[in-house]
């Protein structure tokens, strides 16, 4: 009778391969070219990341019904960031990866009113109901923030700030990473931090 040990090894190897296949890492990596994508805005206009080369780009994952997103929009914090940096030439995409039927998913026709109500100032809201771009970037929370430099390299991924709470009062003591990274980058200085732990609701894929 042949020993079963090699079979056990093979079984373990197969299990390991299966596990790794199921948890394929996102293709967005810090310091590397940000994966390209094209997504429509609510009006149906397509926006392509690679077409923004030469400008800094912020990607903000959004679910307007998430308590953490409400903190940043209810306080005006997110709109201020959007306004300040788009006026400096930064492209700001707010991406909604909520699947149909899940929290935060809205039909394209509903978005203009949602943005108007919040006085939101992104360059565009982009709709990703299949979650393809969200998964490509490994977006896990709303908000989850990414910053891409004019060369198309991903220079920041993580939280908007260091206050993982839905309470707007925590904004007073917050260290805003987006402001820090963009201010440094726009001044031609080294960026820090480059990676932080995002907080918020899970993206409703």
């Amino acid at each position: 009778m042949k020993p079963t040990f090699p079979l056990l090894i093979l079984a373990a190897a197969a299990a390991a391969v299966t596990l790794r296949a199921e948890v394929a890492p996102p293709k967005a990596e810090l310091g590397k070219p940000a994966p390209d994508f094209t997504l429509p805005d609510p009006a149906g206009t397509n926006w392509t990341l690679s077409a923004q080369k030469g400008r800094y780009v912020v990607l903000e994952w959004i679910n307007v019904d998430c308590p953490f997103v409400k903190k940043h929009y209810g306080s005006g914090n997110m709109q201020t960031l959007q306004k300040v940096y788009t006026e400096k030439g930064v492209v700001w995409f707010a991406i909604c990866s909520s699947a149909p039927g899940k929290q935060g998913h809205f039909a394209p026709a509903q978005w203009p009113a949602l943005l108007e109500e919040r006085q939101a100032k992104p360059t565009a809201v982009l709709l990703d109901p299949e979650g393809k771009v969200g998964r490509l970037y490994g977006a896990r929370t709303t908000p989850h923030m990414y910053i891409i430099d004019p060369e198309g390299l991903l220079i920041y991924a993580g939280a908007i700030d260091n206050q993982p709470s839905p309470d707007p009062k925590t904004l007073a003591d917050a260290r805003n990473y987006i402001r820090e990274v963009l201010d440094a980058a726009l001044d031609g200085k080294p960026v820090s931090p480059t990676s932080t732990q995002p907080y918020g609701c899970s993206v409703k894929y």
Partner: protein, 262 residues
């Protein structure tokens, strides 16, 4: 808040439980919530004065929501609070501890919950008696916590991509190959949420290799977390203090960080 004892005695640790309840099917979050969520927040007011209580959470569970892994608790969540009454408290007086708490609960959606509670204790000169009807609750609560004084020894190896935790059980403890291994890092983002990969050698014992997360371990902070091994019925609190390394070459090859017994 549920007191363990009928009173407090200056400088003697006093214990109470914080109980957070929410509907079945929802979960709230551990100290490190994992890839989403947020930990509970606690705001204290202590009269006349005193340090904030130290909190110990029960061993967390792992939740998977469309591939997003979070760490948390089902209802009810009971947290053990340890409070050291200041030595200057006068017997015959009273202390009151007021708590405002905020926690997130999620299932398909997330909602914020808030609560307030207060606890008033008389101060006495002698160690207090337990509240008899609370004894079973505190026995159960302590049993739900990761074990801290366990006699295990840990060594941590850090490489560019991985943390490897080598474990040595207390002398005389013989264990089968571990199954159902989970590690819950105390620090968000420092360890990947992927389950550890196990290996064994006579020299190193059981080792658990974990992929690093996107966040660096803060300088000076120990590597900490909860190691759970289902077929050993074990939930251990691991603390390994990092030590500076002697050079890039050594670091590349796998710098030994420290060994510590708890």
């Amino acid at each position: 808040m549920i007191p363990e004892t009928t009173a407090v005695c200056p400088a003697f640790p006093a214990f109470f439980a914080i109980e957070i309840t929410f509907p079945e099917g929802w979960h709230t979050y551990w100290l490190n919530p994992g890839e989403a969520g947020a930990p509970p927040r606690f705001m204290w007011r202590i009269i006349p004065s005193g340090p904030p209580p130290v909190l110990e959470f029960p061993s967390p569970a792992r939740f998977d929501d469309e591939g997003i892994v979070t760490y948390g608790h089902s209802s009810p969540l009971r947290i053990l609070a340890t409070w050291i009454p200041p030595p200057g408290l006068k017997p015959g007086s009273k202390v009151s501890i007021d708590l405002k708490a905020e926690w997130l609960i999620c299932r398909e959606v997330c909602e914020v919950r808030e609560g307030e509670a207060d606890l008033s204790w008389p101060v006495q000169a002698t160690p207090p008696e337990p509240v008899s009807e609370h004894i079973p609750l505190f026995r159960s609560l302590r049993g739900s916590l990761p074990v801290r004084d366990h006699g295990w020894r840990f060594k941590l190896i850090e490489t560019d991509q991985h943390w490897t935790l080598q474990t040595r059980p207390p002398a005389g403890l013989s264990l089968p190959p571990p199954l159902g291994i989970l590690f819950f890092s105390r620090h968000p983002g420092v360890v990947s949420t992927l389950p550890p990969v196990v290996s064994h050698s006579l020299a190193e014992g059981w080792s658990f290799q974990m992929a690093k997360g996107p966040v660096a371990l803060p300088a000076g902070d120990p590597f900490e977390g909860n190691l759970q091994i289902s077929n050993w019925a074990t939930s251990l609190w691991v603390t390994v203090r990092t030590r500076s390394t002697d050079g890039a070459r050594e670091e590349k090859q796998g710098a030994e960080v420290e060994e510590k017994t708890r």
